[in-house]
């Protein structure tokens, strides 16, 4: 084998191994892709026309509730969330339901069944799962007026826990 060809092969092999190693390091360093601050999104609303952009709510306390119609605990926590929304809506607190991994008609049926009046947006597939570090639904995040996460609730939330988290976020 000519020396030049052999050298080229060796360089290519080393470059390939180096590239794969780099990918591995990048993946380990970035973990699941979860971002430190809330990732902005613009998503279509399910219970009203138009889109909702998360960044437009900056300066308010935001309660993000990730849910899906097929998820039983999502239905169990829905009355508490709707109750708190009605209680806090005049206090500069916005609730946003984020329907994910769900069919749109089923999501609309869920909204009707639980009489949800706060904005619910639709995220197709898993696009927000990585940035928000979701491992399942329901999950609720509270974002303070400064646009930073203040509380994270994986799983179904209770009325008392969410109320406490909102009050804490309003104080920040």
């Amino acid at each position: 084998m000519p020396a030049r060809l052999k050298l080229t092969g060796q360089v290519l092999a080393v470059a390939l191994v180096g590239g794969l190693l780099g990918l591995l390091i990048w993946k380990v360093a970035h973990g699941s892709g979860e971002t430190k601050d809330p990732k902005n999104f613009t998503l279509p609303r399910l219970n009203a026309p138009g889109n909702l952009e998360l960044a437009s709510l900056k300066g308010k306390v935001v309660v993000l509730n990730f849910m899906a119609s097929w998820c039983v605990p999502c239905g169990q926590e829905a009355p508490a969330i709707e109750h708190l929304w009605r209680q806090y809506r005049s206090k500069d607190v916005v609730f946003v339901g984020v329907d994910t991994a769900d069919a749109s008609e089923d999501a609309r049926a869920f909204i009707r069944k639980h009489h949800l009046t706060y904005p619910v947006v639709r995220s197709i597939g898993y696009s927000l799962w990585g940035p928000y570090g979701l491992t399942g639904v329901p999950e609720t995040r509270v974002i303070g007026r400064n646009g930073k996460f203040t509380t994270k609730f994986p799983g179904a939330i209770t009325h008392a826990d969410l109320k406490r988290a909102i009050d804490q976020a309003l104080r920040t």
């Binding site: 097929w70 998820c71 039983v72 991994a101 069919a103 597939g125 898993y126 696009s127």
Partner: protein, 152 residues
Amino acid sequence: MLAASVAAAAMVVAAPAAALASEQHPTLAEIEPEVMCLVCKTTLDQSDSAFANQERTLIRSLIARGYTKSQIKKKLVAEYGPEILAAPEDSGFDILAWWLPIAGIVAGAVALAWLAWRWSRGRRGPPEEPSTTPLGPDVEQQLDRELARFDA
């Protein structure tokens, strides 16, 4: 022999017809192995979760409305995202998922064939020419002396 040929010919004719029937009038059982249960990370036919049952209900309603298999898959992608398909689509960027493994196998086969050819050529090649470098006068004299002594 004749019967086997007839059977083979019948299969060749019947297979596209069956595929067309499956495309035009799919059943839930035909679609289930080709789509995923997003929550369980398995194909739909392997799951009995709440998500899977809701997905089945949607597929059944689409079948009842006369959707073809392609239309059902398209609708599922629109509703749940491309992750809902068990295999990537054979168009656009996803086509790479089909062609890259084939390209890898072909490249590997070509590399192996080339190495085998090099190896066999090396083995069959003519023996190397003996060195024709002339001996120095000292070495030549010593060699003559050694040979003379050997002959004696």
